[in-house]
């Protein structure tokens, strides 16, 4: 087959097989090989067990009926059939997760980019602003969700301020049910997470912005480009690997949103009215709380497929891979 390529051939009849294998192993030192595997032994064992074995195990569990304390019983596609066709709640969870991700990812990416561009200017107190904007990202999601709930509950500070300026739709109690109105609860989580996550992505954007050569902007300015043109024609194309990383990891994280929805529904997953039920919440409720490990595993596999497809789409869209 090599002959068809038309290139000059070093081995017209194909590389001698034995020599190639021997040559392949000749490049290694015995000590390196033994020590290399020894170094990797424990790290790889942990990694493989809790990641790769776990993923294959998940597929296996998804075709069993199993409550862990009993013996697993093979049930074929029953669990998938159950979540797809019988349990209407699963589709609500899928819808909520996707809807959430589709809104939160553009919002947090845009906000992070804007903050990064501004903080990257030659301004006083740059470091202070960076510190202040990034801090919400490193605090515990549970703690910050509770802070948010304290501010946005029906008797909270935000509703009080709204009542002072007579703003906002008047709900049953004259307040905005940020956390209790099924039409608002998921949007409130979107607001919360846009705020907390954008700090992280601001830092990543900032690192990428600092790699954009300064003289490119100066050259553009001499050519009469305005700021907006410079951002569109220079900044955005040059930081594309960072954008890919941010959108891809943002999407993967958003589809798996759990902590905020779990804390906000106060031990009553999905409340109000399943409006904050996400896929991971469904998996948690079905498996860990409901002892239907087969169904939960099936739901996780579906989630894996959704995330896989989403990542491929993002790659297509941004068309440039990150360094790894």
């Amino acid at each position: 087959m090599a002959a068809q390529s038309g290139l000059p051939l070093a081995y017209p009849h194909g590389r001698p097989r034995v020599g190639r294998v021997r040559g392949y192993f000749r490049q290694f030192h015995k000590e390196d090989v033994v020590m290399g595997y020894l170094f990797l032994l424990i790290p790889m064992a942990i990694f493989i067990l809790f990641f790769f074995v776990a993923m294959v195990f998940d597929l296996w569990i998804s075709i069993q009926q199993w409550a862990i304390i009993d013996t697993p019983k093979f049930v074929g596609s029953t669990n998938y059939n159950y979540i797809f066709n019988i349990d209407p709640v699963f589709w609500i969870a899928v819808k909520n997760s996707i809807e959430y991700a589709l809104v939160v990812v553009p919002l947090q990416t845009l906000l992070a980019f804007t903050l990064a561009v501004i903080v990257n200017q030659n301004i006083r107190g740059k470091k202070f602003f960076r510190t202040a904007f990034y801090f919400p990202s490193v605090t515990s999601s549970v703690a910050i969700t509770l802070l948010f709930m304290w501010l946005f509950n029906n008797n909270g500070l935000v509703n009080y301020v709204l009542s002072l300026v007579h703003l906002g739709p008047i709900g049953p109690f004259g307040t905005v049910g940020f956390l209790t109105d099924p039409n608002l609860a998921l949007k409130s989580i979107i607001g919360l997470n846009t705020w907390t996550t954008s700090g992280t992505y601001m830092i990543i954007f900032l690192a990428a912005l600092q790699d954009v050569p300064r003289d490119m902007y100066e050259a553009a300015a001499i050519d009469g480009a305005n700021a907006w043109q410079a951002i569109r024609k220079i900044t955005i194309p040059l930081i594309r690997p960072a954008t890919f990383l941010i959108v891809a990891t943002g999407l993967i994280g958003a589809i798996q949103m759990f902590d905020q929805a779990f804390v906000m529904s106060q031990g009553n997953p999905g409340s109000p009215d399943n409006s904050t039920l996400t896929m991971v919440l469904y998996i948690y409720g079905t498996g860990i709380q409901g002892n239907q490990y087969g169904r939960a595993a099936a739901a996780s596999f579906v989630m894996f497929c959704i995330i896989f497809v989403a990542t491929l789409l993002v790659r297509r869209l941004i068309r440039e891979e990150a360094a790894f």
């Binding site: 030192h29 424990i42 776990a54 200017q121 990034y134 990543i204 100066e218 939960a296």
Partner: protein
Amino acid sequence: MALSIGVRKRSGPFEMSKRAVFYLILIGYTVMSTIPFIWSGLTSFKSQPEAAQTPPTGIPINATLDAWKTVLGFNSSISGINVDFLQYFKNSLIVALLVMAGNLFFDSLAGYAFARMRFPGRNFLFYLIIGTLMIPAAMTIIPVFVILAKVPGFLGGPWLGTYEGLTVPFMVTAFGIFLMRQFFMSLPVELEEAGRMDGLTRFGMYWKIALPLARPALATLAILQFQGSWDSFLMPSFITQSNPSLYTLPVGLAQFSFNYLNYWPDIMAGAMVVILPILVVYVFAQRYFVEGLSRTGLKG
């Protein structure tokens, strides 16, 4: 400076005249980002009636430490609330330090092997690990739960509701291995070769020469792992659900907020117990937080 005459000195695509708008945005966003922390911090010093009153008070009028005493477990006879954030704090600290130590050792060990040694399957294994960065961790919730439940007796299993379960699965991370490999590859190999001349073994070269030189990368990794473990909620919440005495801070705080829905001063005091240690670490080691993120593969 002399060379830049005629070209206005600037750091980005915007002109000086727009700075004012930037400052307005920056200050506005800063206020928005800090108010939740300040407001909640103030609330933790209020009595319950004061926290609930309208119009709300800013600085507490009758400042009290009751909420703090309650969550730290000094008040249970009076408040009737049995909760011990000191215990959760201890659990979180032990778990975070163990996870951190595990990652420092195992990630650097694997990173060193990938950076410096040649053995069959090296690249395959490395890309296998890196590939998992794009795979959802939540897919492993159910299998990890089952694996921990089924850890055989000779390993001290089952590991649900134990420190082993809270730490061992998280002691190796793809990001950590990647970070350490990149750093080791940037070190000059000559130093280690000199060590070999002096009769060091491979492990000696790693332990005595490469590792001390990798201190900046290790610091970054330590900070990120500590923070990740400290804030982690999903996995610890189901690993400890059978054993409340092992609740980590986020798990204990979430449970507390479910059990005492409207005890806002107490909940806020609990939230402060979770947030403040990270704030302290953040203030002193911010450089390493930023470093870790900036290295997420962009500069490969």
